[in-house]
């Protein structure tokens, strides 16, 4: 059964069967990644452009590796954010790339909605690698994959997304995907970082981190982006760490097993204490490997659709 859409723009509205198919396909590729020869010929002859309008190392490398493992030809196109508004317009850039006969475009952009816009001006399959504070669907998928790998299911689990929910594309993709898969989703963070009306998405809001730890099976801890505007939303890093940081004491006090995910890289001592971070090393590295498998699955399923 193929995917129901020829693009992956976000996880909003993506049917359960599609998510299931991507996760199952990723399991197969996960196995490929354990082989001595990690390459399959599946996308041979396909050309994929990684169009990155925003700095990203990990996501870009993950996509690039996934493309190489599938034997696709990939081109990296990185544009510094400062040239977005001036010079060659976005549309012209896309038309130029299109003229090079590409099959798929993986796009990262600081402005929400850009991947959707791309589908109007290009015939290629479009994969959203993060658009502004909107969605980051492959991150959502790999988080779900990691949860399923560890806890054997998603349905019925209680998952809390912790941190700067308002300025996170990871949060929205997680909320949409997890809810579709039947998880019970909540968010926890300083109230200035929780978007107004988020409850309308069927999400519970928790302001107390201890309560979040007690109530949930999984915490997906977002990175506090210290370099960005995030600092305007809480008084000090000390205060954030004190009231929302995941520490050993907090976890011990609670006593039960809880799965902690983090998209990395961790701000040690801010959202997660150094001690907890050390313990998390394995799962975070696993998330990275799973990320390659998920991206292989998405590229494969979209690339063989036509």
């Amino acid at each position: 059964m193929p995917l129901s859409s020829r693009h992956l723009l976000g996880l909003q509205g993506v049917p359960k069967e599609d998510i299931q198919l991507i996760l199952d396909t990723a399991s197969t590729f996960r196995e490929v990644l354990e082989r001595p020869i990690k390459r399959v010929p599946t996308l041979q002859g396909k050309t994929i452009v990684n169009l990155f309008y925003e700095n990203s190392t990990r996501t870009r490398i993950s996509f690039e590796l996934a493309e190489k493992r599938l034997s696709a030809d990939s081109i990296n196109f990185a544009v510094s954010a400062s040239s977005v508004s001036k010079g060659e317009s976005f549309k012209d850039t896309i038309k130029n790339i299109e003229a090079m006969k590409v099959d798929m475009v993986v796009v990262r952009h600081s402005a929400a909605g850009t991947p959707l816009y791309l589908t109007n001006i290009s015939d290629a399959n479009i994969i959203n690698a993060g658009d502004g504070i909107h969605e980051h669907p492959t991150q959502g998928l790999l988080d779900m994959y990691s949860i399923r790998e560890k806890l054997r299911k998603i349905e019925g689990l209680k998952v809390c997304i912790v941190g700067d929910v308002a300025h996170s594309r990871v949060a929205l993709s997680n909320i949409y995907g997890l809810k579709t898969m039947g998880a019970d989703v909540s968010v926890c963070g300083p109230s200035t970082m929780i978007p107004r009306n988020i409850e309308d998405l069927g999400v519970k809001v928790i302001y107390n981190i201890d309560e979040a730890i007690q109530e949930n099976d999984v915490l997906n801890v977002l990175r506090i982006q210290l370099e960005r505007k995030a600092r305007e939303y809480f008084p000090s890093i000390r205060e954030y760490a004190k009231y929302f940081g995941i520490t050993e004491e907090r976890l011990e006090k609670n006593g039960k097993d809880i799965l902690i995910l983090h998209p990395g890289p961790i701000n040690r001592g801010v959202e997660i204490s150094s001690g907890v971070a050390d313990g998390l090393h394995q799962i975070i590295l696993k998330q990275v490997t799973n990320g390659v498998a998920i991206r292989m699955a998405v590229l494969y399923l979209l690339g063989t659709l036509n």
Partner: protein, 430 residues
């Protein structure tokens, strides 16, 4: 030349005229007879059969961006006037956010000069402060003398309460209104209305309270100083409620709404179509419901387009980076008739008050009267024509409208003013 307008329905609420089957004779653009006219008695007259058409006082749009001087690639005084005539307007007021801003008498004169031979009257809103920066009040007396009929920092609210107070006090000498784009700048900067849709679309939000804070500030200062405040493009439920309350108290406040703010809601932004990006942003159903009440009960005095032409290159951008605003002169009458008159929100009488009479009253301009001896200043309406708006036929230099291909009921099919006639794409000098 002589023109006979045959068999019209004549409607002018301010003059209590409501008659059917009337003929009007125009001689060189002046009304020379109203009643039954035998065509054969008038030799050489050009006859327009206007059976089932209404003649009403010429419509006036008090919120138009002409882009000249500065962005003539987007609109000029002439192309903007052509769009206005095509949309059924005989008069417009142009806003001062040009480059340079309209903060000197020379620019007022420049615009007046450019438009002087046109069918459409162009009135000028001067900047309230120098370069619209909110630091020093503009030379309002000179601007007024050159012809400015109101003052506004347009695009932004007057920056501080201190400067606004002074602007009210100074403009009071000439009894002209301060027209405000109500938005608190510390809450501004987003791309759409704050709510569940902004969260879901990942677009930076503009809270409704950003508008409401300035509405109440302006009302309070208008009351305190005795100045006149006109709230431009009102868009939220609370703003309407506050204006209603202020009017009840007798404060000199008036307000306008744009067709897009009574027609569209923020759900439509799911397409990330930059032609739906404007400021104030599209709001919610609850806001529209209150706006409709405000139109009914007179809280909202006028319908204005906020016609804001932008080049295709600028609009063809990421949503967050695209400029705010849409064109509106040529869709306004159709949307008002479709969404307000035909849906029985307001009567034809109210519609004419809000599109022809009130805007002129607010700006202290004479309301055209339909009587023998007067220069004809009419809009000709077909209330029931069903048509599809086609942006490619627009007379504006810019095509940034979200209403392309929209089905509308009711249309302005002609205008007559300044001894010129424009009817169904035919132009005549009378």
């Amino acid at each position: 030349m002589k023109v006979i307008l045959k068999n019209v329905s004549l409607f002018h609420p301010a003059q209590k005229i409501d008659e059917k089957g009337i003929d009007i004779l125009l001689t060189d653009g002046v009304i020379s007879k109203i009643g039954k006219i035998k065509a054969e008695e008038i030799s050489g007259a050009k006859i327009f059969d206007l059976t089932n058409k209404h003649i009403v006082p010429g419509f006036f749009d008090m919120h138009v961006h002409l882009r000249e001087p500065g962005r003539e690639d987007e609109e000029t005084v002439i192309t903007g006037c052509n769009a206005a005539a095509n949309g059924g307007f005989t008069g417009i007021a142009c806003m001062p956010n040009t480059e340079p801003a309209i903060d000197s008498a020379e620019i007022v004169t420049f615009i007046k000069e450019k438009s002087k031979d046109h069918l459409v009257d162009v009135e000028v809103i001067g900047a309230a402060t120098l370069d619209r920066k909110g630091e020093y009040i503009s030379p309002m007396a000179e601007l007024y003398e050159a012809g400015a009929v109101g003052f506004s920092d347009d695009g932004v609210a007057i920056k501080t309460a201190g400067i606004l107070k002074r602007a009210f006090e100074y403009s009071k000498m000439y009894n002209v209104p301060i027209i405000e784009h109500c938005e608190d700048e510390t809450l501004a900067g987003g791309a759409m209305n704050e709510g569940i849709n902004s969260t879901m679309l990942g677009l930076p939000p503009i809270p409704s309270v950003a508008e409401e804070l300035i509405v109440i500030r302006d009302i309070m200062l208008a009351e305190y100083t005795g100045g006149k405040i006109h709230i431009a493009h009102i868009s939220t439920k609370k703003s309407v409620e506050m204006v209603r309350e202020a009017k009840r108290k007798g404060i000199a406040v008036t307000s306008e709404v744009t067709p897009h703010h009574f027609t569209l809601i923020d759900d439509s932004l799911k397409s990330y179509d930059t032609n739906l990006k404007m400021n104030p942003p599209l709001r919610t159903r609850a806001d529209i419901d209150e706006i409709l009440l405000g139109l009914q009960d007179g809280t909202i005095d006028c319908i204005s387009s906020d016609h804001a032409p932008h080049s295709a290159e600028e609009k063809e951008a990421e949503f967050e980076h695209a400029p705010n605003g849409i064109t509106g002169l040529e869709t306004q009458v159709g949307l008002a008739l479709t969404e307000l008159y035909h849906k029985k929100v307001i009567t034809l009488e109210q519609l004419i008050e809000k599109m022809a009479i009130n805007p002129r009253k607010i700006l202290n301009l004479p309301v055209p009267s339909i009587e023998v001896g007067q220069i004809a200043n009419f809009t000709i309406l077909d209330l029931n024509e069903i048509f599809t708006f086609d942006i490619s036929k627009s007379k504006s230099k810019s095509k940034n409208s979200p209403f392309d291909k929209r089905l509308l009921t009711g249309r302005a099919i002609g205008v007559i003013n300044n001894c010129k006639l424009f009817y169904q794409d035919e132009f005549l000098i009378l």
